[in-house]
């Protein structure tokens, strides 16, 4: 059976060159970067090389890159670490309602410890209005966090415009770029952000290595204390092989990015066209043009997402029904609710995220397999039955 992996927003495979670069650091070059002997030096050099490669991908300086274990850690670090470091200046934070839970939950936690948080709405396509950011900023505001691209609907936010406002107002600006780095050009200077999260396994790096860009001169309170690593800002022995892998993935992404984006977006467009042609009562969520090249988020009316996912899985096709944590909560995705998708329709949503390993044949296979699944489930659906009966009355 054909295997088609369309869940690259969940994770990507590590690139063979990434794995190759990592291998020596498990065995022969296993030293601890904090050790003063040659073995330590060798590991330290590898970590610093990776820091340079990661910085280069986003137009940062090496010393502005802090390695972390995951995108979630980078986001927690940015929100809690910056809020606490600047709490004597003010206690108000602004985030959007469509942020990842690794921003929203720390925001809730900060609220419990005396911070005030404003949760900005978006429009129907998932865009935050920079004007809303400006209006929400008060004398007490210290931090704004708006994601670069949404991980579910793929909408790319007007980060440059928001950064202009935060700079004028003297407010820190963090962006969660976990979904976008490696897929669209990200340059911290052009974006004008003070902090940015990225994660290696989103763009063919290994799991377990991510980074927080922190513009030079900005303070942050560590989440993890008790070590000198990362300039004393994140204690814990570095995950050297994974960090080396992240560096390699960054180097490859920098070289291949335009080609990758063009390739996956043409396949995504083919998939979207094919599905819209063959399935009725279907909507594409997100922004028609300002979106990630590998993202397709579609809602099929009258059917439920998990059952589509399970049937696709039986055909060898891996997709997601919204974000994995969202499906565990048994609630319609907070992102789809925010953009005004009817909650019943939101439950019929599939998130398909493409990668460089997908082919046109893979896409055509999915276009062939999904419509009969939707039809079969609709024939089983009381909502579809009611709709057909209403149509007949009309």
């Amino acid at each position: 059976m054909r295997k088609v992996y369309l869940d690259h927003a969940a994770t990507t495979p590590a690139h063979p060159k990434v794995v190759e670069a990592m291998m020596p650091y498990f065995t022969g070059k296993f030293g601890n970067p904090s050790s003063l002997h040659d073995m330590g030096r060798e590991a330290k050099d590898a970590v610093e090389k990776a820091r340079g490669e990661t910085a280069a991908l986003i137009g940062a300086r090496p010393e502005e890159i802090l390695f972390t274990s995951s995108g979630a850690e980078s986001n927690n670090f940015a929100l809690k670490g910056l809020a606490q470091a600047y709490s004597q200046k003010g206690k108000h934070i602004i985030v959007s309602q469509i942020e990842h839970f690794s921003i929203l939950h720390p925001a809730k936690t900060l609220e419990k410890s005396g911070f005030a948080v404003t949760y900005l709405e978006t429009d129907k396509e998932g865009l935050v209005d920079p004007g809303d950011v400006e209006k929400a900023i008060t004398k007490d505001t210290i931090l704004v966090s708006v994601m670069h691209a949404n991980n579910e609907i793929g909408t790319i936010e007007p980060i440059e415009e928001i950064a202009k406002i935060t700079r004028e107002k003297g407010v820190l600006f963090h962006t969660d770029a976990v979904a976008s780095v490696g897929w669209v050009p990200v340059d911290v200077k052009a974006l004008g952000v003070d902090a940015l999260s990225l994660s290696g396994h989103q763009f063919y790096g290994p799991k377990g290595a991510a980074a927080l860009f922190l513009r030079k001169g900005i303070r942050i309170k560590p989440l993890l204390e008790g070590g000198i690593q990362e300039d004393g800002r994140r204690a814990g022995t570095e995950n050297v092989p994974a960090v080396v892998g992240l560096g390699k993935a960054a180097e490859l992404a920098a070289a291949e990015l335009p080609r990758r984006a063009t390739y996956v977006s043409s396949l995504r467009d083919r998939l979207q066209r094919g599905l819209l042609e063959k399935i009725d009562h279907v909507v594409v969520n997100g922004h028609p043009t300002r979106r990630l090249p590998h993202n397709l988020n579609v809602s099929m009316w009258y059917v439920e997402g998990e059952s589509m996912l399970l049937f696709l899985n039986m055909e060898g096709v891996s997709v997601s029904s919204g974000s994995a944590c969202t499906s565990r909560s048994l609630k319609a995705s907070h992102v789809l609710v925010c953009i005004g998708t009817d909650a019943a329709v939101a439950n019929g949503t599939l998130l398909m995220t493409l990668g460089t390993g997908n082919t046109a044949d893979d896409i055509d296979y999915v276009i062939e397999k999904l419509p009969p699944i939707v039809q079969r489930l609709r024939e089983m659906s009381p909502l579809y039955e009611d709709m057909i009966k209403k149509e007949k009355v009309r």
Binding site: E304, E306, R328, S329, L330, S381, P382, L383
Partner: protein
Amino acid sequence: MEQYSSKVMEHFAHPHNVGEIENADGVGTVGNPVCGDVMRLYIKVDNNVITDAKFKTFGCGAAIATSSMVTDLVRGKNIDEALKISNQAVAEALGGLPKVKMHCSVLAEEALKSALDDYYKKKGVPSPVKLPQESGHEHEME
């Protein structure tokens, strides 16, 4: 999330008794599309015995599997026996359900009770069925 049992996957992939019954003696619809599942159960009753049961369900794998199982369990039972079918019985017959999906078995029990209640109403007889006030359809927090 816990994985589904092979029995659940079997009933999900090849559900029994899908469809409608024309001129059914009882029909019950429970659930809410906002919560992600709606079950509609049709029953045919002959001499106090449920001779046929069919369903239509909008929902996840567990919702479809519990619908399939409850229609299997209820066929051939008399009404008193049918009223005793609990959500646990449905879940057990499926080899268990992941914890977060237990509400689907509750929904299956409620769909059956609602169809039986409808049966009494259609007959013009006071219904002995105790319908739950509010569906036991509580959600886990994310």
